[in-house]
Structures are given as structure tokens and as C-alpha cells.
């Protein structure tokens, strides 16, 4: 079985879809692994290190025999899909919502989107959304803390008492929890809010304080539903005050398949003190904060609003390692005796296959 890993590094993307440990594991499973030269450099995996782990380093994947599996961090273009043999597969964060048609057009291959894996206990070792959200949540706090002109922790010093920073985390999924934990570690007072009521316990389990705004049961998939206008208005009212008194706000709220909910208006931002910071982790999918721009930082009334699109990439070594582990587990599940075998009825792999929507959905 031949597995290929391309070089995807750009300004915003420093991750790679493999790691030295995973290359070694794949080879132990009987696969050949080809990696494009420089693919891992930005993540700290030099060509030598990857070759040392057993990978064949190639200038371009086009130089090598057809691939059984192409591993990707980001959605590939159509040329990249041509590298794959008939009956082979591309696996990665494929952004299926936007790209499904393109993949389906290449009917000789199967596209397995990590985003569509079930969020079940069983599938957790392949759950790249979780692993990358972990990295992003951590990185968001570091970004916020280094962009703030104040300390996170409280300090009683001979030059006066510095009060602790107040951090607000909106949306308590994986990234939100990680953000709470990291801000708490740095000594901030952390408030958090999510529409799902069970997150209250989770927030408190990390030492955070839950903001007492209306919540709402989740749907069967375990995801939050879009909320009605009235609830949303009430939410915004309560949140507006707590936003105004925060030094750092991190927003992570998402509703799968829909635009991210707007949680903070421009007026709310303008109520914040100059020098405070907002990190809108949902900027790319519409933004939780009015005025946030994906990949940029804008200043609104002295408040820095970040819309970062590369958070997981800022800890590229570890986020790549985790992503690679997710891919390894999925590849293992999709192979039988060293041969790729895609079972559309598998409870884990099945939902991740990019398929034409069936009428009843």
C-alpha cells in the first residue's frame, strides 16, 4: 500500500499530515510512505528526520507511483486527486460542505472527510476536529495573552496590586474548554458560556465560572441547534455586560452546517476598554463577533479583534503529530491485511465518506 503526504505549507498552514512516529507505524503496518520534501519543516520535522523514520522523500508526489491513499491537512485541488489510483482514497480535513461536488466528480476515488466522523467515544482516536480544536484553543489564549497590554495573573507587588485579567470564553466545545483551562492556568479569572446546558458542569470542572444566560438542549447529534431570535437577543443582552468588563474574549461558537452565530455586536465591542482583546475563532465560518475578519486583526475603538485562521498551525509540531495519529488510526481501520478496504457500513468510516446527499436528509 502506498501512502503519500504532500507539502502544504503556506503562511497560514504549517502543519503536515504525518509525523515521524506515524510514518514508522505505517511502515510497520506494511505500507510505503512518500513525503514531499519540506512538507514537515515548518512543523519541526526536517526531511532527514522523516527519512530517518522510513519515509521516501520526494521532490513532488507526481514523481512517484500512483498512491493508494493521499493524506491531507487541507482540501486538495483536483490535480492532487489525480495522484491517487483507481479505488484509492484521499483522507483529511476536506471541508466537505464546500467541496463535496468536486470530490464526487472524481468518481475513481473515495474521499474520507475527517470532519464528518461521528463524535462518538469509539471514534475519538480519529477525531481530528477534536485534536485540532485542542491546539487551536490553546493557541488562542496565548495569542490573546501576548496581545494584551496587561498580565493574566493577579500579582501583589511592591509597585502596586495587579488584579487578575478577566477572560470570557463563548462556546464551550473542545476549543472552548481548552481555552478555559489555559487561561485558568495563566491565572486569569475565567467566565464561560455555551448554549448547551451540560457545559455548565464542564466549565466548573475546569475551575471556570458559568455565565448565567439562557441555555437550550442539544440535538441528537450532540451539537447545538441554531437558536431562535428571541433567545439570541436575550443571550446577547446578558453577554454584552460581561463582554464589556472582560480583558480578553475568546469566541468558539459553531453550529455545524450553518454560519457561526453572532454573539457580539460592534456596540458590545465598543463598550470594552481600550487595550482589550477579542479572538474570534469562528471568524472563518461567519464570525461570532461583528466586524471580525478571517486571517486579520482589526481595531475597533481601541479593542484588537483577531480572526485567526491558523491557530492550530501555531503549534504545528504537536497539532501535526495529533492529526497524524488520527489519520493513522483511520487508515488502520480502513485496511485489511495491508489492503485498502472501504466499508460504507462501518459506523465510523461510513459517515465520513463523501456521498451524494440522500433525499431524506
Amino acid at each position: 500500500m502506498h501512502i503519500g503526504v504532500p507539502n502544504e505549507t503556506t503562511r497560514a498552514e504549517r502543519r503536515v499530515a504525518t509525523s515521524p512516529q506515524v510514518i514508522a507505524a505505517l511502515i510497520a503496518e506494511g505500507a510505503d510512505v512518500s513525503v514531499e520534501s519540506g512538507a514537515g519543516t515548518a512543523a519541526g520535522f526536517t526531511d532527514e528526520v522523516l527519512a530517518g523514520a522510513g519515509a521516501e522523500i520526494v521532490a513532488s508526489l507526481t514523481d512517484t507511483t500512483p498512491l493508494d491513499i493521499l493524506l491531507r491537512v487541507t482540501p486538495p485541488d483536483d490535480d492532487a486527486l489525480k495522484l491517487i489510483r483507481d479505488g484509492g482514497a484521499v483522507i483529511g480535513l476536506l471541508a466537505p460542505a464546500a467541496n463535496a461536488e468536486r470530490y464526487l466528480a472524481q468518481s475513481h476515488i473515495a474521499a474520507v472527510a475527517l470532519e464528518s466522523l461521528p463524535r462518538s467515544t469509539l471514534a475519538q482516536s480519529m477525531d481530528a476536529l477534536s485534536s485540532q480544536a485542542t491546539a487551536a484553543g490553546y493557541a488562542a489564549v496565548l495569542l490573546g495573552a501576548s496581545s494584551m497590554p496587561k498580565f493574566m495573573p493577579m500579582m501583589v507587588t511592591a509597585a502596586g496590586t495587579v488584579p487578575p485579567a478577566q477572560v470570557l470564553v463563548l462556546g464551550v466545545g473542545v476549543a472552548g474548554l481548552m481555552a478555559i483551562a489555559t487561561a485558568k492556568r495563566l491565572g486569569a479569572v475565567v467566565y464561560a458560556y455555551d448554549i448547551r446546558p451540560e457545559t455548565k458542569e464542564q466549565v466548573e470542572s475546569l475551575g471556570g465560572r458559568f455565565v448565567d444566560a439562557p441555555t437550550q438542549e442539544m440535538d441528537e447529534g450532540g451539537y447545538a441547534r441554531a437558536v431562535d431570535d428571541e433567545t439570541a437577543a436575550k443571550q446577547r443582552e446578558i453577554l454584552s455586560d460581561i463582554v464589556a468588563s472582560s480583558d480578553l474574549v475568546i469566541t468558539t461558537a459553531q453550529v455545524p452546517g450553518r454560519a457561526a452565530p453572532r454573539l457580539i455586536d460592534r456596540a458590545d465591542v465598543e463598550r470594552m476598554e481600550p487595550g482589550t482583546v477579542i479572538v474570534d475563532m469562528a471568524a472563518a465560518s461567519g464570525g461570532n463577533v461583528e466586524g471580525s475578519v478571517p486571517g486579520e486583526v482589526v481595531e475597533i475603538g481601541g479593542v484588537k479583534v483577531f480572526g485567526p485562521d491558523d491557530l492550530a498551525s501555531t503549534v504545528a509540531a504537536d497539532s501535526s503529530r495529533m492529526l497524524a495519529r488520527n489519520l493513522l488510526e483511520l487508515v488502520k481501520r480502513m485496511t485489511v491485511d495491508g489492503e485498502l478496504l472501504i466499508d460504507p457500513d462501518d459506523p465510523v468510516v461510513g459517515p465520513a465518506l463523501v456521498k451524494r446527499e440522500t433525499p431524506d436528509e
Partner: protein, 455 residues
Amino acid sequence: MTELSYLAAGVLFILGLKGLTSPASAKKGNRLAALGMLLAVIVVVVDLVLDDSSMAWFVVIGGVVVGTVAGGLLALRVQMTDMPQLVAAFNGFGGGASALVAAASIVAVGAAAPTETAITTALSLTIGTITLTGSFVAFGKLQGILPGRPIAPPGGTATNAILAGVGTVAAVIAVITGDAIYYWVAAAMWGIVGVTGVFPIGGADMPVVISLLNSLSGIAAAMAGFVISNHGLIVGGALVGAAGLILTIEMSVAMNRSIANILFSGFGGGPAAEDIGTKPVKRATADDAAIALAYADTVMIVPGYGLAVAQAQHAVRDLAAALEARDVKVHYAIHPVAGRMPGHMNVLLAEADIDYELLLDLDHANPQLPHTDVVLIVGANDVVNPSARTDPTSPIYGMPILNVDEAKTVIVVKRSLSPGFAGIDNPLFYEEGTMMYFADAKAALEDTLTAVERL
């Protein structure tokens, strides 16, 4: 000299009983008490020999030989799990002996006894008899000869009250008239109360009942001491009477019940013993956990989401420190998906400043578990669910879990039998080697620490 020797025996009983209250000295305590008993027996035998009245040698020797063989065989042959019912049986014999001593005195002295002796004779006789019959019913229930479930007599509590009333009146008449027949009536009535009183009590509550009967057998012995004017019997009997009563109270407190509730709930007076779940689990208290942990060589702590909810990270650290001070090796097994976010447990344990080197991930923990004496699971559930290994129909089948069931003993701290995130039942909780400690994780760990420090 005789009297002072009995006093010495009494002192040995006291020291022995004291020793039995702590694990470190229990064995020695039991032996001291046995030594005291030997002394008492030697004293009485020497005394009888010196007396050289027409001593009925063959009766004495025959009785001792028969008793020794029977008692010895029973004690040495019995299986560990059958010990409680054996204790009940022995207790019944003790009560019976006191009743027989009283009976012999009635036959020998009869109406000639002064009132005070008559009173103690009646007490020794009736208390001894109720101990005898009650203990054997308890034995039968535990041994499975009699049905374990509560069975109330026809008429319920009223029947027992009438029997007891008749028995008491008969005893009073016996004391006044000295007429032996009334003694026998009193004994018979109270003997029946022993049966009808214990029958309605469920098997799970038997230990408390046996402890109470044990206290009674002590009192019966003390009363027999009054009958034959012997301080040795009075000291030993009163000691056991009082200690047994306190122990009974302690045991019912440990079960969160009152003694009255235990004795009379079979009559419809209180809740059933098993209130959580339908399958039986072995419940543990802080003291059980403390003993298991403190006497282990290796302990593996498995934290889960419940540790985070309870914010028990500081408590777990304190407990581990106390165990380490006792040369117990403590590690932590961190399952990859424990908690509700990646690294959830790490955040908490780092806050409590627990050394990274003590944290084992799945791959390192699992090979250790078969060599681990005690696994302490703190608010974890799905990550230790063996159905992931054994039950192909389980939604988590195939997920790697911590194989805690390979360790010798497993203690699970959680608040109830409710499921974890995956919403499925956990067969681990019902396994032989598992003890369930139902409590909030923080409170449980703190109480266990206190208990460890008391050991």
C-alpha cells in the same frame, strides 16, 4: 489467689479486645484474650481439683474433648466466605452455655436461692436462650439453610410482644416462687422470640444482628457470673456486652441505618437494604478504602470526569502523599479520553502539582495493572468499562480501555450507579473484586485520607 487470677484473666481480656480494634495489633490482641481464657480455665480446674469434692471428671473431660474437637474442626475447615455464619453459630453455643449454667443452678439450688441470685439466674437463662435460638436462625439464614429474605411471623410485632411479655411474667413468677417450671416457661418463650425476631431480618443485615446477639451472650455470661459469684465471668461478660453494643451501633452507623430500623424493617418498618440498582454490588466505606490502600504495595489511581466535577485534584494528591509516606507506590493511569476535553486530567493533576513522571498513559498503564494491588477509580466510568473488550454489541466495543479488572482489588468512587458520557452500564461495578464507594469524589478522598491517617 483465685480471685486475683480471674482479675488477671479479665485484664488480658481487656488488653485483647483493645488490640482487636486496630489492624496492626489485632492478631496479638486475639492471642492475649485466648491466653486470658486459658488462665481462667486453669484457675477453675485447679480450684476444682484442690476442692477434691466428688468431681465428675468424665463429664468435665468428655465435654472439653467433644467441644474442642467440634470447635477446632469447624474453625479450621470453614471457608473464608462462610466465616460470618460460623461466628453466629459459635455465639449461639456461648449463649446456650450460659443458659445451661443457669439451668444447672436452678436444678441444684432451686427455690433456695436468694432473690438477687434468682434474678440473675433468670436473666442468664432467658438471655442465654434468646442468644442460642437467635444465633442459630442467623446461622441458618447466612448458610442458606433458611431463606435469606425477611419472613415476619403471623401477627408480626404483636406476636413477638406477646411472647416476650409471657416470658417476662413467667420469669418474675419464677424469681418470686423459685418454682423451676416457670423458669423453663420463661426460657421457652424467649427462645421462641429469638426465632421469630430474627426470621424477619434480611440476610444483608445479619452481621448487625449477630453483633447484637454477641453483646447479649456477653451479658448472659456476666449474669452467669453473678449466679456462681465469679468476677472473672462478670468482667469478661460485661466487657463483651458493652463492647458488642458499641460495635453494633458502629456497624449500623456504617450502614447508615439505625439499629431499630435494622431489627424491625422486616416488619415493614423501613426501606430495603439494597436501594441502588438491582444487581448487587459490594459497597465500601472510607475505612474499607483506607485499609485496602494503606496495606497495598502498589496503587493505581484512575481519574475521570468525576474527579474534575468534584474538583478533587487536591484531595487526590493529599491521599497519594499519605500513601507514599507509608511506602505504597502510587501511580496515575490517564486514559486518552478521560474527562471532557483532551488533556482534561493533565490540567487538574498539574494544578495539584502531581509529578509528571507518575502519570502513565494507556500504553504504559495497562501492562502494570496485573501487578497492581489496588486500583482506585475516581469518577471514571466509560474508560474502565470492560464491555469495550468483551461485548461486541456495546457501542464502545473495540475502544481500548484501562484493564483495571486485571488488578487484585478495584475501588470505584462515584456518586451512584448512573452511567458516564456514553450512557451505558458498566459490568466492572458488579465484579467480584470491585468495591463501590458511593460518594462525591472530593468528600470520599478526604474521608479516606482521614481514615488512612487513623490506621
